[in-house]
Symmetry: C2
Amino acid sequence: MYIPAHYQESDVAVLHALIRAHPLGAWVVGAADELVVNHIPFVIDASRGVRGTLIGHVARPNPVWKQLSRNGPSVVIFQGAESYISPSWYPTKHETGKAVPTWNYAVVHAHGIPVLFEDRDRLLAHVTALTTMAESAFESPWQVSDAPAEFIEAMLKGIVGIEIPIASLAGKWKASQNRPEADRRAVADALLQQGGDSSRAMAALVRQSLLPE
Amino acid sequence: MYIPAHYQESDVAVLHALIRAHPLGAWVVGAADELVVNHIPFVIDASRGVRGTLIGHVARPNPVWKQLSRNGPSVVIFQGAESYISPSWYPTKHETGKAVPTWNYAVVHAHGIPVLFEDRDRLLAHVTALTTMAESAFESPWQVSDAPAEFIEAMLKGIVGIEIPIASLAGKWKASQNRPEADRRAVADALLQQGGDSSRAMAALVRQSLLPE
């Protein structure tokens, strides 16, 4: 990914936080002259490896786990907030007119070679961790143990685990850092006025870039 | 992408509509043993080719246009609504307990071999089309001609056009179609109650699947 210096986010904790907030990754695998993409929720285990380890699973009928070539590249794309940015929002535009549209976004790319696992205990630990993460926002979280034991055993037989030790982790936080302060403030205000979850989240990122480091 | 039949969306007009609603694509290129990902807003030209043609551009300093291998594969991922689906929402769960969590999402994958273009008139036509699309929601849309002519000429020299005739177009609309009707209605209700733009959009997709075809 092309990342000009002012858009680069390299704090591993910040990148992991985006993954936790947007766990549905687009997992791309290069397999024999084609690119195979699947959308999978991942758990990030920050304790394993310098950049962490992603853990997910696919349904057994999904052919991707048979298509993985030994040491073939793979990348998981996690997409955060994104918004179109109109040049008409920039106060400085009114001085010179020298402005063009752009798109702001925050994304994380985790590159690494996937390793499969089919061990029953590891699969159970994984789906339990994934469920705990996803249900944490609810008042009465559903738990894997709420389902009949034999049903869960059958479900575990129907999935294949994927573990991706992250070899390289890149974050691009494109949040108007290339604009003068007055433009950034105006962009954040316009995004808030525009409304919508993604615009509001992007407004917060634009404002963050105004804080003293 | 693994698409069970009940999740497959193959109406080209529906797939193009998702691209227009979520034009920021994740463009993945397989280049010499690595996967290069860039996030780029695309215009879909439905009039060129059976599945349409995607048109975008990158900044000239972005190395991706020099990394493209002749006839190397590429895919653009467009991400629509997505939501975690809790099994505790299913009325049928209360009968047997046989339910597990899942993630719903609507995505489009456009596969095709990218072709570069650097012709000034085509680049101008492209950025004009992209701007018109992005500004269409505003009361006073910004236009490319609002900027000084010599500034625009300099900007056009700073970008490289990318055209991707779509060779294969896949849509996966994972919207609880595998659940009984009572569960689908309850999922849509729970998503609406949960709130948030993505949940609301997913609720609409789940409800659509309840309509007679």
